[in-house]
Symmetry: C2
Subunit: 445 residues, 2 copies
């Protein structure tokens, strides 16, 4: 709505009025506006924001902007931001800061906190520990609902979520959870013990983020508790962070399926050399793998020499085989990722793909025969050779496309690499061998 | 944990005891167990569950199981389930039921409800309206915090979420929202008017689910209000339903990018003919498009006849071009889907892809030259022809791969179809033309 107005105020350099506009807005939208501006003006406006708003806005900036800001503000301002950020955002920030800044921050914190920061910095990337935050509501089972609500009233504003509360014993062991909904609908003097849910679903600090995302998907949670090896509650993960994880995991799959090393960086923000680096290794590997197809063609040079026309169908055969195989592998890879297909289903998958490929193979071979025999007026033996090859290629590629991702999963390799590029390379070699063998037979070369 | 125990109880047909085990569990896990069982036993156990648990379990069954259950239970049981289901789950059920069942249900409901059911059944698929539910907490701005909490205490258990409450005027117009967190941390006599957030982000009933998902992603909401054309609050969408939407949208993109018509059905549950149908049209289209490559090769038949060896590098050139192009198009398609790349960035994308392709092209061409000249002992002129073609192919395919998805977006076509299969077909024709042209030049044929 106010976009025009904000632009106008900017042009007229009415920064005071601009500030009044900004603080009415959602911090995420403020961040978006500041990110578009010249860094000097953005920084000035950022420092004009009320402190609590500034911290929120700061937490939404991308890492490189955060670094720039940290480099330009006073130690006192930095200290305030560090103190007020949610613990998980603070850890994310520290992970990206230069060593001297981290050291300064650690010096300013007490021993207990320092220990905890170090512990969090050591969780493996992509683990539950690296996603969690420590701002949760901690209740005791002896409390009444009234006491619990009073506790939330006092501390609730600084918690990441208050909608699921965690009941722990004196050793921080997780005994149960109780939702704020339950607290609100129950009587004040009811005991937490009686209304808490003891059948808690939780994850361990070292569990992979994919496991965590799968639980959120299945149960529709708002938050999930994270415990350490001794079953002590160490943090919680909230659903908004999981949406990011799901997006990242999907992006990773898309990248792997297009033969790239995965990267979390946004496309437009990544420099040309990093992008080239992520692409070149797979391209080289696949290019050199094509030596096989080259050898096959060289081996059948005589056949080709006698009927050069055969060469003109090679691209169509290879592409159709590759496409047919990628269709199958894509569905299986996606099924595995969403937990809809399991390695034990391999028999079902092969049988299904085999039947599909018969249908698809017949239709494609028939259309192709009609096209090249009647329209392109190609010799009938060549038309037959091409169509029969097409039929077998479709069957082979669909079955291979169905098997390879599951085989990868069984071998603990990421199924996503068994996608179009690799399948195409394998299917190419196969279809060329079939092609020239059938050609030798039918054309008696 | 209790998996062994449940199996044992099933084997020993101790259904009473089994029931006691089940009702301790999360309804989602009960559903999972029942789904694995023989339908007769599953149905018996289902009917033994307490009614409120049964409704929850029912809502998690896949549609075909729901249909089976509806076919086997009494009208009275069905009526109870329909009454107790959340409105969105009920609508989803009605959409899939045979007409006579829907009619029976409509007859049993009052006029007001019937009107509303009909309205909901008419929202376009994939619209915000089709995702929303009506069980939200409705507050008035004149209420105090104490009154609001009392209202939630009374009605909260039957609402889909109580964590965001909606403040409406007498015409059902949305005036603001207030979180349960705010209610709990404020004093009892504080007025809702003073603590509600008036800057509400909402969607319209006819907005696409992708728009809704983008808002959840950006702001990390738990729920989002949906209003009609007159700005009246008609329902809410909760984050758990959005996680499903995100998964479905991604699956759709994966399918389109592998040249399939998208389908929401799970792979293993879909019959062979439907799967074949979704794959065949694109395969046919791409196969017939390959006529171009065929024509190109036929046109250069003389070149090929004089140096048949050239044919052996065709697969490698085509595959490398296809792979290089898919890498670029995948990143751009994904960037567009996540809102990280916009159509206006087309210049940046082309410039970026051009620079990347120079680096990648030089490396690939060099490695390829060294390999085929020194290892495969190919004639230097042919080695040069192949390597120079490779260089230009990589450049062309990366630039095309970067442009096409953005062009599609500008033309309001789904960018996801500009993926590997289509890019490969285009790049094939291009690389073959370059190949034979360079061959004619270098080899003087």
């Amino acid at each position: 709505m106010g976009e025009r107005k904000i632009e106008m105020l900017l042009e007229q350099k009415k920064y005071r009025e601009l500030r009044e506009e900004l603080i009415q807005m959602n911090p995420i939208d403020i961040e978006e506006i500041l990110e578009e501006l010249d860094i000097a003006i953005a920084l000035m406006l950022f420092r004009m924001l009320p402190k609590n708003v500034a911290v929120d806005v700061f937490s939404y900036f991308p890492v490189d902007k955060q670094k720039e800001i940290v480099g330009c503000i006073t130690d006192k301002e930095l200290e305030y931001i560090i103190d007020e950020l949610y613990f998980d955002d603070m850890i994310d920030l520290l992970e990206e800061m230069p060593a001297n800044v981290v050291k300064k921050i650690l010096l300013n914190s007490n021993q207990e906190e320092r220990k905890r920061i170090n512990q969090f910095l050591n969780y493996p990337q992509d683990s539950a520990g690296s996603l969690m935050t420590i701002e949760y509501v901690d209740l005791k089972k002896e409390m009444t609902v009234g006491e619990a609500l009073a506790h939330i009233k006092e501390t609730g504003l600084s918690k990441e979520t208050v909608y699921t509360c965690y009941v722990t014993d004196s050793n921080r062991k997780l005994e149960g959870i109780v939702s704020l909904r339950k607290l609100v609908v129950n009587e004040e003097n009811e005991s937490i013990k009686n209304i808490m849910n003891r059948d808690v679903i939780y994850v361990n600090t070292h569990d992979d983020q994919e496991t965590v995302a799968a639980l959120f998907r299945k149960y529709g949670f708002i938050a999930l508790p994270v415990v350490d090896k001794e079953n002590r509650l160490t943090g919680i993960i909230t659903v908004d962070d999981i949406m990011d994880v799901i997006d990242k995991e999907n992006t990773e799959d898309f990248q792997k399926m297009a033969a790239m090393s995965p990267s979390e960086d946004e496309y437009l923000d990544t420099d040309v050399f990093s992008l080239a680096k992520h692409r070149i290794i797979w391209l080289l590997f696949l290019m050199i793998s094509a030596t096989f197809t080259q050898r096959i063609i060289t081996r059948f040079e005589d056949v080709l020499q006698s009927t050069v026309l055969l060469a003109s169908f090679i691209p169509m055969l290879m592409d159709t085989g590759g496409n047919a195989g990628s269709q199958s592998s894509t569905l299986v890879i996606r099924g595995l990722a969403l937990g809809e297909v399991h390695p034990k289903d391999i028999g079902k998958v092969v049988w299904k793909e085999f039947r599909i490929s018969i249908i698809v193979g017949i239709v494609l071979a028939l259309v192709n025969f009609l096209r090249i025999y009647y329209i392109e007026k190609v010799n009938i033996y060549i038309a037959l050779t091409v169509s029969v090859t097409l039929f077998f290629t479709v069957i082979a590629s669909k079955v291979i496309g169905g098997i390879l991702p599951i085989a990868a999963k069984k071998l603990k390799i990421d199924p996503a690499i068994m996608a179009s590029p690799l399948i195409t390379t394998i299917v190419d070699a196969l279809s060329l061998t079939v092609y020239f063998t059938i050609a030798s037979l039918i054309l008696h070369i």
